[in-house]
Amino acid sequence: MNALIRGRAASAVAIAIIAGQLVLVSGDAFAQRMSRGGGGSRGGGGRSSSSASRPSTGTSNHSYGGGGSSRPSTSHQPSTSNRGGSGASINGGNQSLPSQGSRPGSGGSATQGNRGGNSASTSDRNRNNNNNSGNRNSGNRNSGNTNVNINVDNSRNTYVRNTNVAYARPPYAYGGHAYYCHHPYYYRPYVPYAYGPAYHPWGFFLATMAATAIIVSVATPAPVATSTSSTVTNTTTTVTESRDYYYDSGTWYLKDGSGYTAVAAPVGATVKSIPSEAETFVVNNTTTYFYGGGFYEKVSDGYKVVPPTAGAVVSNLPDGGEEVKVGDQTYVKFGETYYQPIQKDGKNMYEVVQVKEQK
């Protein structure tokens, strides 16, 4: 009998981390231990006398990711009365095949004809992951000097650098990935730090650029691929582009239509000065500066934007982050970077998380 393989919790038990094991959620170490659907489709009436007409689980098409879903906004309301004793079965009725000859007569009218084949396919749902890194058209560029449309992938500016410093603390495990931090998780609600009026969070639209702004031309770190068609062959060339960023008082902007949009500090850009409010710390034996979600290192001609370094600890996070629940832990996510709330020397801080795929 083919078992329908549902996420099997047992496989992750041994590697589950105590710090992250909670009861109801993130239950890689918890109860649902059996492969499901041994009898085939769980749709159908089953043997109970209830009106269990469960639709196939393979047809679910809900959009996940929280917030506004794609479901029609019809009059949703839980039933207004007690349903006990008169409603449908809690599980559609026992749909397992009766054992041969061993059962005293109940359920002889099982609707077994519908049980074969269709597994409870839960893997084909449409999801809305809000994972912007995969949705950018970084290669969508016409090379004919007109209609140039380069979408800059700013996600690269927030990717995390490893420190190569061993973690004494076991990671938090979720979804096949390990989330490493040097400090223990210590939750507190994310309250954005207010840098002052000059700072603008990522995504902020500015109609007019300040006169004090400077233009910094930054080469895009990754190549932009363009396709050139001819009647005979198709060739792909690699072009390194540069973009003009606008930098003013610690905030970076890109031209956006009639105005400017605040973006992540572009890795590789160098500016002569950064705001005095920038936080200074040492990570990986390097003095690093943090302002507005951007990390900087001192270079001969100023301050160079660098990717976040795993293990870096910052006191505050600016506006523009998103609180996300990874299993049972709540992180603040900026672009591609996860920050774990921690306490260090009795002070609330955030540590840049190193995420590794679990083998």
């Binding site: 209830s50 629940k325 709540t330």
Partner: protein
């Protein structure tokens, strides 16, 4: 109540049948099927499950056992409330037929997803997407018996034992990687009393155990308990699906870009 009365009568009639069965598997499957029939006939129920499970404590370098307690309320086909406390913290899960909410009391934050139209589908989908495991979900599954048969090499009726002054059928299912022991009440309801999963993986055996109490069959549960209202000051957080590639994955090699 008819199904229950019917089950009671059948069970009474079945007792001698059990004793006369030619094989232990037949006895065990009879009990399991009756249990599944009775659960499947419930229109609503509530119970408490005291659970413990082994997890690897990376700091201690050993397996440790965590304990939790879950109050579960179900109304078929599309209402569920689970309130869990213990080593895993205090958490709640609400499902009202359309939306599912998980709420973390300690952090006063919650996540929300749209949910399928039935309890069973919701359990499956939330588990698949977010790794949420629901108390006793395996036993509540409409295909529990088939699932157990599919993953077991043998299912045997061991003996009758008493647990908390209740006579129970002790059933043992042995599989390649996982064994299950199940204790089912030897009474009219034939409901699960206790179960134990023993999983072998990479040379290590871990256990998950659950003990039921406070079973209520077909209680009248107010619909309002299945609707989640965000508590004052609570914050909504986005739930990251298990298969969502963590964007913060570190670059390999530690090289600067």
């Amino acid at each position: 109540m008819k199904p229950i009365l019917c089950a009671a009568l059948l069970l009474g009639a079945a007792a001698p049948t059990l004793a006369q069965s030619t094989g232990d598997d037949a006895k065990a499957l009879t009990v399991l099927n009756r249990m599944a029939d009775n659960i499947g006939a419930l229109h609503s129920c509530s119970f408490r499950l005291a659970s413990s499970h082994d997890v690897w404590d990376g700091e201690a370098g050993m397996l440790v056992k965590l304990h939790n307690s879950h109050d579960v309320f179900l109304v078929g086909p599309d209402r569920m409330l689970v309130n869990s406390t213990g080593d895993g913290g205090h958490k709640g899960f609400w499902y009202d037929g359309r939306d599912a909410y998980a709420y973390w009391y300690g952090e006063n934050n919650y996540g929300h997803v749209a949910a399928p139209p039935t309890i069973t589908e919701t359990i499956d989908q939330i588990h698949e997407d977010y790794g949420v495991d629901f108390p006793a979900a395996d036993l509540l599954s409409p295909t529990f018996v088939d699932d157990l048969k599919a993953q077991s090499q043998s299912i045997a009726f061991a003996k009758t034992v008493r647990i908390d002054d209740q006579e129970c059928f002790h059933i043992i299912a042995r599989g390649n990687d996982q064994d299950m022991e199940l204790w089912v009440s030897n009474d009219a309801m034939t409901l699960p009393v206790k179960y134990l999963f023993r999983t072998r993986e990479k040379g290590q055996t871990t256990e998950y155990e659950g003990t039921f109490s406070q079973w209520k069959m077909n209680p009248d549960l107010p619909a309002t308990i299945f609707s989640f209202t965000p508590p004052p000051g609570s914050r909504e957080v986005r739930l990251v699906a298990r298969n969502e590639k963590p964007a913060g994955k570190a670059n390999s090699g530690g090289k600067k870009k």
